[in-house]
Amino acid sequence: MSDLELQQATVDAAAAEARPTGRPRVGTIIAGAFVAFLLVATCFPWLLETYDPNAIAPADAFQPPSAAHWFGTDESGRDLYSRVIAGTATSLAIGVAATAIGLALGLVLGVAASFGGRAVDFGVGRLVEVLFAFPGLLLALLVIVVAGPGPVTATIAVGLSTAPGYARIIRGQLISIRSAPYVEAATVLGRTRPRILGAHILPNALLPLVVLATLGIGQAIVWAAALSYLGLGAEPPAAEWGAMLSAGRTYLATAWWMTVFPGLMIVGTTIATTVLGRALARRERGVR
């Protein structure tokens, strides 16, 4: 089972336990608040930052968390809290953009496979299987080796390596919708295929995709952090959670805060987006 099929299963499980009442759960509210905080950190980081995230102060290096430096300071005396905030934009941007790339590619492949006839379906199916044979991160590494390291390449790399999963799920979804009674009715009524695709099938397929994407963002952020951790994503001095984690690991024995806080942000963001994704999934099934 791939990560994305796992996500699909999560969606299904969430739907199964959906409660008829529309009242959101406590977890969902907390997750929503956290995501709102992340959005503020992304769009208006200066509202939250207490220092310039790239301003060095070597004399203040390795300070533990205190009133002046909430998350402590790193090896160059930079304020870790401000850097974690500054890193939100990078990490979220990579996560969202990579998911968008993966979803768009998956949509193209999925639509082609389900409506392009048997030969195209066969071709796309085999292509997706070949891509699936590579572990996702390996595929991303391959792209980076070819295109060179950097944040943009890392985004594209993560996007490309999630695409086969989306393609397979989208194809399955479209095929099941294709045989739904309302589509058959439309066909009997003599609607053209593009019209059926545009007016009936895609709108019904899109909402589940949004749910899937919300869940995918968390994973994309983790992958992007992993690439930066390996030194293949963000370039110095850019604050990025994975890169900060990597820098802090060297001093793990003496300065725990350098790894713990960026790590908590990665974990927190992943959990928050997943919880929100599940809530969306419940709503989606509940509404239907």
Binding site: P58, A59, A61, E75, S76, G77, E235
Partner: protein, 552 residues
């Protein structure tokens, strides 16, 4: 790399390794017990060494000639002469030597009882073959080739006497010959061709290359017939250790963890915080051995814009502040340098006044040089060009602390309007960036015994690439006055005149704002307390385990 930590040769530490794998760091303390009360060396055992330097692509240090090659070659190759701790030249494979009055011929009397490990006798023919190998462009030598620049040929006077014929007097000849990059290999081994010789060069050393699993380990076994230790060794005959297991663990934190867990006995390139802790506690032992030759410095490429303008170079140096960073990142294990030469060099000349941080002066100089405008990022602009400073950094040649220092360089230079762009590269991409002149600043360690390293680094001849493609004059210094001083210094046999010439040359190089000295080339080792007798050779500070033994 993960796998490199697992296989273990010595059964007695297997249990410890398992314990270590489940994360019981505390147990490791038990293995690094107090040294044995008796200081009697014990024969046998395998020493496990973990190197953080790049894995060589060729084990023959004649080919190219970088420090990672020297580290491992020291275990199985030997040179004609060596250095003792006071810096005096001492006999090794050569027993004695005599220069002619004009300094143009040197006769070396060789030991007559030494054989290479393949049975080939060590004699003057072998010395001749090695010098020819180094000078042959097909060998693609850089370090050895440059060091032999003045040697025209070697003549075989008799099997025990080799005569070096020079094109000009060379006051640095003995220092050059002491280095591992000019070590003497078996002529029969060299004759096998580069591919085969790179896999397992054949020398006269205390160990022999037994096998090389790429990305994993080099296996070295004892040379039981060994007879030729340098004059300052502490014992005679074969080494105590049966074998050395030479591993590569590029990541500093993993390397230290492997030492703590008892999976390896010696590591190089420790992170400064761990070195400082070891210096305090004495467990493991910290061996600090700064490399000779150049200091660790940032070179400014004066061969192209924007640093072809001396004012811009001076502005950069005035803008950058590294003192606080060195203190905090190196935990007191590194001292700021103000010289192009290592503090290990007696003739090093320092001028701290040239390196005082002065942002106002930097700004004034840049305004004067025409970089008066700034864009939205605060980066200075001149005729539509941004003041970009490309900085390729070799991750194989710098510990994380140094990379952090480079980020601080980036941050302080930004205040004056420089956009320093650091790219972290592996060794071959880094060489690629240098060969293509895609750098404005670079930090490139260069190790050589003696002040003649200045000629290699700052004489205009070194702008021309060596056969390996490397040009050592990365600052692209092209000053006839500096050239003349360095050429004269390398030729004179008068010690006082030599010292004076080198001082004047260094003053000119520093005054030309071609470089920003940081500290000595950091070179240190952490040695488990069960290992005794390990030391760094005073030549280029590579470790030697000939006298080493492991206590149970």
């Amino acid at each position: 790399m993960h796998a490199a930590l697992h296989p273990l040769r010595r059964p007695r530490t297997f249990g410890l390794a398992v314990a270590a794998l489940v994360g019981a760091v505390a147990l490791a303390g038990c293995q690094a017990a107090e040294p044995d009360a008796s200081d009697e060396p014990v024969a046998g055992g395998t020493l496990r060494y973990a190197s953080g330097d790049a894995e060589p692509t060729c084990l023959d240090p004649h080919v190219g000639g970088n420090y990672p090659q020297a580290l491992v070659a020291t275990q199985f190759l030997e040179s004609l002469v060596s250095l003792d701790e006071s810096g005096e030249i001492i006999p090794w494979l050569a027993e004695s030597w005599q220069a002619s009055d004009d300094g143009l011929t040197w006769e070396f009397t060789l030991r007559d009882d030494v054989e290479f490990t393949d049975g080939t006798p060590f004699d003057a023919e072998a010395v001749k073959a090695n010098v020819e190998h180094l000078k042959d462009p097909a060998t693609q030598s850089s370090t050895g080739y440059l060091a032999l620049g003045k040697v025209d040929r070697v003549e075989v006077v008799s099997p025990e006497v080799a005569r070096f014929v020079l094109t000009a007097p060379d006051s640095a000849l003995l220092e050059s010959l002491s280095q591992p990059w000019l070590a003497i290999e078996s002529p029969a081994g060299l004759a096998r061709g580069m591919d085969e010789n790179c896999q397992a060069p054949i020398g006269t050393g205390p160990f022999v290359v037994d096998g090389w699993e790429k990305q994993e380990r080099i296996s070295l076994v004892r040379n039981d017939d060994y007879v030729s230790p340098p004059a300052d060794a502490r014992h005679e005959g074969a080494a105590y250790l049966e074998a050395i297991d030479w591993r590569f663990i590029p990541d500093a934190a993993s390397r230290y963890a492997a030492l703590q867990a008892g999976q390896v006995d010696v590591i190089d390139n420790p992170q400064p915080d761990t070195a400082a802790a070891a210096e305090k506690s004495g467990d493991p032992t910290w061996i600090d051995a700064p490399r000779p030759g150049a200091s660790n410095r940032i070179e400014l490429n004066s061969g192209q814009a924007p640093f072809d303008d001396e004012r811009v170079r001076e502005a950069f140096i005035a803008a950058v502040d590294v003192n606080d960073g060195i203190d905090s990142l190196y935990f007191g294990t590194a001292e700021r340098s103000y010289s192009p030469l290592s503090s290990a060099e007696a003739l090093a000349y320092s001028d701290p006044d040239l390196f005082e941080t002065d942002l106002d002066r930097a700004n004034a100089l840049l305004d004067e040089a025409g970089w008066a405008e700034r864009d939205d990022d605060g980066t200075r602009v001149k005729e539509g060009e941004r003041l970009v400073v490309r900085f390729p950094v070799s991750t194989n040649q710098s510990v994380p602390a140094e990379q952090s220092l480079f980020e601080q360089v980036q941050a302080t230079a930004k205040e004056a309007g420089f956009d320093v762009q650091i790219s972290l590269l592996d060794l071959s991409s880094w060489y690629g960036a240098l060969f293509a002149h895609e750098y404005e600043i670079v930090s490139a360690p260069y190790t050589k015994v003696g002040p003649d390293v200045l000629r290699i680094l700052y004489h205009s001849d070194s702008i021309t690439p060596a056969p390996s493609g490397y040009f050592a004059n990365l600052a692209q210094v092209n000053d006839p006055e500096i050239d003349a001083l360095l050429t004269d210094a390398a030729s004179t046999s008068d010690a006082a005149e030599r010292a004076d010439l080198y001082e004047r040359a260094q003053a000119l190089i520093l005054g030309g704002h071609y470089l920003l000295p940081l500290y000595d080339q950091q070179n240190s080792f952490l040695v488990a307390n069960s290992v005794h007798g390990a030391r760094a050779l005073p030549t280029v500070s590579t470790p030697t385990f000939y006298d080493a033994w492991i206590a149970d």
